[in-house]
C-alpha cells in the first residue's frame, strides 16, 4: 500500500466516522416525525375524539372527522348531536365555520380555539418541517426514552404557535413531547403524544399518533385528543373549496 492509498484510507475513515457520529439533521428529524402526525402525506382522513377538562369541570365530548392535506383541512363535527354537520374549513390562515341551515359560512379568526386547549392547528395534519426553523439543542430522556430536543421558531405568521420545544424519540423518530411558547417566550401549553396507531405509506408501515394530551401551562386545564379510523389517501382540491362546503 503506497502513501497515497494510506492517506486516502485515513481520510475516508475520518469521513465515515464523522457521518456516523455527527449530530442528526434537525430538518430531516422533523420531516420524519411530521409523517407520524399526518404531515408529508398525499392526504389524510381521521376521526378525533376530543375531551376537555377545565379544573373540576368536565367538558362535553366531541367527535370530529378531519380531512387534511398540507395547509388545508376540513373538520366535520359528528358529536355532540346538536352540532352534527358543522364544518370548519381551514385554508392556509383563512378559516370558516358553517353549519346546516346557516345562511353562509362565517369567517373565523385563527385565535378561535377548537375546544378546550386544542387549537384549530392541532386537529389538522402537522407540518412542522414546513412551518418552523429547527435547531437541535440537545438530548434528554423522556419516560426512559432517549430523545433529541429541537427548538422550533415559526417561519411565517400562520403557525399556531410562535415557538415550540419538541422532543423526538431517537429510536422511533416520532415527537413524544412538545412545549408551546408565545413570541415573548412565555410557556402557554405542553403536549404529550402516543403512537399506538400505524399506517401503510409507500410500502412501509409507520407508527402513527393515537393520542395527544394538551395541558395548559397557566391554569389547571387539559384536553385529550384520541385519533382513530385513519386513512391515507389523496384528497381532491374541491374538498377544500368554500363554495362546495354544503
Amino acid at each position: 500500500m503506497n502513501a497515497i492509498s494510506r492517506l486516502s484510507l485515513f481520510f475516508g475513515g475520518i469521513l465515515f466516522c464523522g457521518s456516523v457520529l455527527a449530530a442528526p439533521d434537525a430538518e430531516s428529524l422533523l420531516k420524519h416525525s411530521d409523517q407520524a402526525r399526518g404531515g408529508n402525506l398525499p392526504g389524510i382522513i381521521w376521526e378525533i375524539n376530543l375531551t376537555s377538562r377545565d379544573g373540576d369541570k368536565q367538558g362535553e365530548p366531541q367527535r370530529l372527522r378531519v380531512m387534511a392535506v398540507d395547509e388545508s383541512s376540513v373538520a366535520e363535527t359528528l358529536e355532540p348531536a346538536r352540532f352534527r354537520g358543522s364544518k370548519l374549513l381551514q385554508r392556509e390562515r383563512n378559516m370558516w365555520l358553517t353549519r346546516p341551515g346557516l345562511s353562509k359560512p362565517i369567517p373565523i379568526s385563527p385565535r378561535q380555539r377548537m375546544s378546550g386547549q386544542a387549537s384549530n392547528g392541532d386537529i389538522a395534519a402537522t407540518n412542522y418541517a414546513g412551518d418552523y426553523n429547527a435547531v437541535l439543542s440537545g438530548s434528554e430522556t423522556i419516560d426512559g426514552e432517549a430523545c433529541h430536543v429541537l427548538d422550533l421558531t415559526a417561519k411565517h405568521k400562520r403557525t399556531t404557535y410562535d415557538k415550540v420545544r419538541y422532543w423526538i424519540s431517537v429510536k422511533r423518530e416520532v415527537g413524544v413531547k412538545a412545549e408551546f411558547f408565545s413570541l415573548s417566550g412565555k410557556l402557554l401549553k405542553s403536549a404529550r403524544f402516543e403512537y399506538n396507531n400505524s399506517i401503510q405509506h409507500q410500502g412501509h408501515r409507520i407508527p402513527f399518533v393515537s393520542r395527544m394530551t394538551i395541558r395548559d401551562a397557566l391554569i389547571d386545564a387539559e384536553t385529550t385528543m384520541d385519533f382513530g379510523t385513519i386513512k391515507v389517501q389523496e384528497i381532491s382540491p374541491s374538498e377544500f373549496d368554500l363554495g362546495q362546503l354544503q
Binding site: 367538558g59 362535553e60 366531541q62 358529536e79 355532540p80 348531536a81 346538536r82 352540532f83 352534527r84 354537520g85 370548519l88 385554508r91 392556509e92 390562515r93 383563512n94 365555520l97 346546516p100 341551515g101 345562511s103 353562509k104 359560512p105 362565517i106 369567517p107 373565523i108 379568526s109 385563527p110 385565535r111 378561535q112 380555539r113 377548537m114 375546544s115 411565517h156 405568521k157 400562520r158 389523496e234 381532491s236 382540491p237 374541491s238 373549496d241 368554500l242 363554495g243 362546495q244 354544503q246
Partner: protein
C-alpha cells in the same frame, strides 16, 4: 311527487351497499318549538292599526328541519326538508298554517378531482358581512340578524372548477328562486359567473350575474386576516333595483314608481376582533345608494300617512343610506352555550335596534334559546316604524 320519488331513489341508490368503500348515508334533524310575542306600534304610519300588514302579535311554531345525506366516491346527495306548523294571532283572529318544503337540496357529481357538476336548490350567499350581504344578488338580507330565520335556496345548475393554485370558478344557471319563486321571478333563467381566489391570509371573490330583461349585477368581496385576532373585510356591488318607489324630498310631489332604477352601488366595510377568551366583536358600516337620504326619508313617512299600502309594500330593502352594525358574541366554537348581542344604528334617520340571542345546552340533545329585539325610535323612523319590541323563546331537540 315525481321529485320526491326521484329523491328517494337517489338516496336509496347511494345508501345501498353501505359497506362498500366510500359509500355512506346519514340523516339527522332538529325539532324547534317556540313562541313569539311582538308589541306592535299603535301609531304606526306604515301599518296603522295593523290594517295593512296584519302582522301577528303572538305566534307559536313547531318546526322540523332535517338533514339527509348519501354519497359514494363520485356522487353526493344532500337535502334539507322543513316541515312547519304555525299558529298566528292578532286582533283580527287566529290563523293556522302548515308548510312542507325542501329548503335546500343538491345532487353533485364529482366529474374529476377539479370539476364538480351539480343540480339543486342552493343558498348562493357569500362574503364575510353579517348585517347585509351586498355582494350577493339574491340575499341582500342574509338572515344573520335573525338567528331563527333560515334562507331557502335558489334552483340552479352549477359547474365548478377548483384549481391547485387556490382558485375556484363557478358557472351557474339560475332556473328560478326556488321555493319562494313567484310568477314574476326576477332571477328566472339568469346566468351567474363567480371566481374566488385564496391567498395565505386573504380570500377574495368576483361575481357577475345577468338576468333576462334586467341590467347585469356585479360584485366583489374580500377578507384579510391581519393577525391572530383581527379580520377585516369588505363587499361592494353595482346593480339596479326593480319596482322602485321614489320619494322626492319635495313633499308637494307624489310617490312615483320606476320599473328599474339607474345603476347604483352598495358597499360594506367590516372588521372582526377576537378576544383572548374567544369572544368576538364585530363592526360594520354599510352605504347603500338605493336608500333614501334624510330629506327623502322624511318625505317618505309624510306621504305614508296618506298611502300606507304603497309605502309599506314598495319600500326599499333598507330605507336609509348609511348604517352601523355592531355585534358582540361568545366563542363560536363553544359547544355548550352561545350568545350574541347586535346593535344597529341607522345613520340616516338616527334610530337604533338592539337584539340579543342566547342559546344554552340543557343536555346533548336539548337546548333552550331566546331572541329579543328592541327598537328605539319614533313611528317616522325605520326600525321603530312597525313595532316596539319582540321576544321569542323556545326549545330545540336534536334527533336521533
Amino acid at each position: 311527487m315525481r321529485l320526491v320519488v326521484f329523491f328517494l331513489c337517489t338516496y336509496a341508490t347511494l345508501a345501498s351497499a353501505g359497506e362498500s368503500v366510500g359509500k355512506s348515508a346519514s340523516w339527522n334533524g332538529t325539532l324547534y318549538g317556540y313562541s313569539n310575542h311582538t308589541s306592535l306600534r299603535n301609531d304606526s304610519l306604515l301599518n296603522p292599526g295593523n290594517t295593512i300588514a296584519r302582522m301577528p302579535q303572538r305566534s307559536d311554531h313547531l318546526e322540523a328541519r332535517l338533514n339527509i345525506k348519501a354519497e359514494n366516491q363520485s356522487l353526493r346527495f344532500t337535502a334539507r326538508p322543513i316541515v312547519t306548523l304555525r299558529e298566528e294571532r292578532n286582533a283580527y283572529g287566529a290563523t293556522a298554517q302548515q308548510e312542507a318544503y325542501l329548503s335546500q337540496w343538491q345532487l353533485r357529481l364529482k366529474a374529476s378531482d377539479y370539476v364538480n357538476l351539480s343540480a339543486g336548490r342552493e343558498v348562493l350567499n357569500w362574503g364575510a358581512a353579517q348585517f347585509r350581504s351586498p355582494s350577493s344578488p339574491f340575499y341582500f338580507n342574509n338572515g344573520r340578524s335573525n338567528p331563527m330565520s333560515e334562507l331557502s335556496g335558489m334552483d340552479i345548475l352549477k359547474a365548478s372548477l377548483t384549481t391547485d393554485d387556490m382558485g375556484s370558478l363557478y358557472l351557474v344557471k339560475v332556473l328560478d328562486s326556488g321555493y319562494a319563486s313567484q310568477a314574476q321571478d326576477p332571477w328566472r333563467n339568469s346566468w351567474l359567473l363567480k371566481y374566488d381566489q385564496y391567498g395565505d391570509d386573504w380570500a377574495a371573490g368576483l361575481v357577475g350575474l345577468k338576468a333576462a330583461n334586467r341590467a347585469a349585477f356585479y360584485s366583489m368581496q374580500g377578507q384579510y386576516t391581519v393577525n391572530d385576532g383581527m379580520l377585516i373585510y369588505g363587499e361592494l356591488a353595482s346593480s339596479t333595483q326593480t319596482a322602485v318607489l321614489n320619494s322626492p324630498a319635495d313633499i308637494t310631489l307624489p310617490y312615483s314608481i320606476t320599473p328599474e332604477s339607474a345603476r347604483k352601488s352598495t358597499g360594506l366595510l367590516g372588521w372582526a376582533y377576537t378576544l383572548q377568551n374567544g369572544q368576538s366583536i364585530i363592526g360594520e358600516y354599510l352605504h347603500d345608494e338605493n336608500g333614501y337620504n334624510r330629506a327623502e326619508q322624511r318625505a317618505y313617512f309624510q306621504r305614508a300617512s296618506a298611502q300606507p299600502g304603497i309605502a309599506l309594500g314598495l319600500a326599499p330593502r333598507l330605507l336609509g343610506r348609511d348604517y352601523l352594525h355592531l355585534v358582540w358574541q361568545s366563542n363560536l366554537m363553544e359547544s355548550e352555550e352561545y350568545w350574541r348581542w347586535m346593535l344597529t344604528h341607522g345613520i340616516t334617520s338616527g334610530d337604533n335596534e338592539l337584539a340579543g340571542y342566547g342559546e344554552y345546552s340543557l343536555n346533548p340533545h336539548l337546548s333552550a334559546f331566546m331572541l329579543g329585539v328592541l327598537t328605539m325610535g319614533s313611528s317616522r323612523q325605520e326600525f321603530s316604524a312597525l313595532q316596539h319590541n319582540s321576544i321569542t323563546a323556545g326549545l330545540k331537540i336534536v334527533f336521533p
